[in-house]
């Protein structure tokens, strides 16, 4: 005869476990390293399992995301990233390179150099900006999905995202790594 515990286990299996990937992507936006994101989701699953009795059966994703956010605050394991050993030196090298080489601004972007500057600019973003960029540009969430994940309005997602990308774009321009039209041609003619 099925016990109440069996029902809860079934609910956990049917409703919670399918959300693991979404939880991991959201957790990745709250941590500096993939391994921390995994730890965060593991702790979230544990808490969800233990509080399974409080789940009303509606909107499992929203319920889990709330637990995830609370768990993230409690664990408080945010460390500054070390993706580039010396981000400032990398940028300085790019400045020096663009100053000494006489090339036209329409030069083809070297993908690796571009990625380096974007990466540096991304990791230098304030946490709140980094989070939305992570969710939308890296994990592929829509504005609405990102809003739900973070518990903030979609309008806030949009404004943080646009400002963050603006910053990245300005750093690209400063490093000479973006395309600009030739000076003097502000019109639409090539």
């Amino acid at each position: 005869m099925p016990t109440r515990d069996d029902d809860l286990d079934l609910a956990f299996s049917d409703q919670v476990l399918p959300e693991v990937e979404v939880l991991l992507r959201v957790a990745r936006s709250m941590t500096s390293q993939p391994v921390d994101a995994e730890d965060l989701v593991q702790e979230t699953l544990l808490r969800a399992y233990r509080s399974n009795g409080t789940f009303d059966g509606q909107h499992p994703r929203a319920w889990l995301l709330t637990i995830l956010r609370h768990t993230a605050v409690n664990l408080n394991r945010r460390r500054r990233p070390g993706l580039l050993d010396d981000p400032e030196a990398a940028l300085e090298r790019l400045f020096a390179r663009s100053a000494s080489v006489l090339t036209s601004p329409e030069e083809i972007i070297v993908e690796r150099e571009f990625d380096t500057v974007v990466g540096t600019a991304f990791t230098a973003l304030p946490d709140k900006y980094q989070q939305v960029v992570r969710l939308v540009d890296i994990e592929g969430f829509s504005y609405e999905e990102a809003a739900q994940a973070l518990g903030i309005p979609a309008g806030t997602v949009m404004s943080r995202l646009h400002r963050a990308r603006n910053r990245i774009r300005r750093q690209l321009s400063a490093a000479g790594a973006s395309r600009q039209p030739a000076p003097g041609r502000m019109d639409g003619k090539p």
């Binding site: 991991l24 990745r28 974007v118 960029v133 890296i138 829509s142 003619k189």
Partner: protein
């Protein structure tokens, strides 16, 4: 939004300003179809706005290349969840 504002070959600043406000949402697929058509048409004909849009698109592509959520991690976490259920069941049957 009114139609294209052209004086000779020069785009009016009005249209470019409007597009500048919308270009990121447009690239994110977050504008309605009519707006998308208008923005897209402007970007095809206005070199300056087109280059700006390309820069944003390249930023998005560079960022997307940083995705590091692995299927293996998802599998490990699901296995963890399954173990929670299984071990709880084992405890229950020990208590019986």
């Amino acid at each position: 939004m009114t139609g294209p504002q052209r004086v000779g070959w020069v785009w009016s600043r009005y249209e470019c300003r409007q597009v500048a406000r919308l270009v990121q949402s447009y690239l994110d697929g977050e504008v309605d179809g009519l707006t998308a058509d208008r923005v897209g048409a402007h970007l095809e004909e206005c070199r300056r706005c087109g280059l700006e849009a390309e820069t944003y698109a390249e930023i998005k592509h560079a960022l997307a290349r940083r995705c590091d959520v692995s299927a293996a991690a998802v599998d490990r976490l699901r296995a963890f969840g399954e173990r929670l259920i299984a071990e709880d069941g084992e405890e229950e049957s020990r208590d019986d």
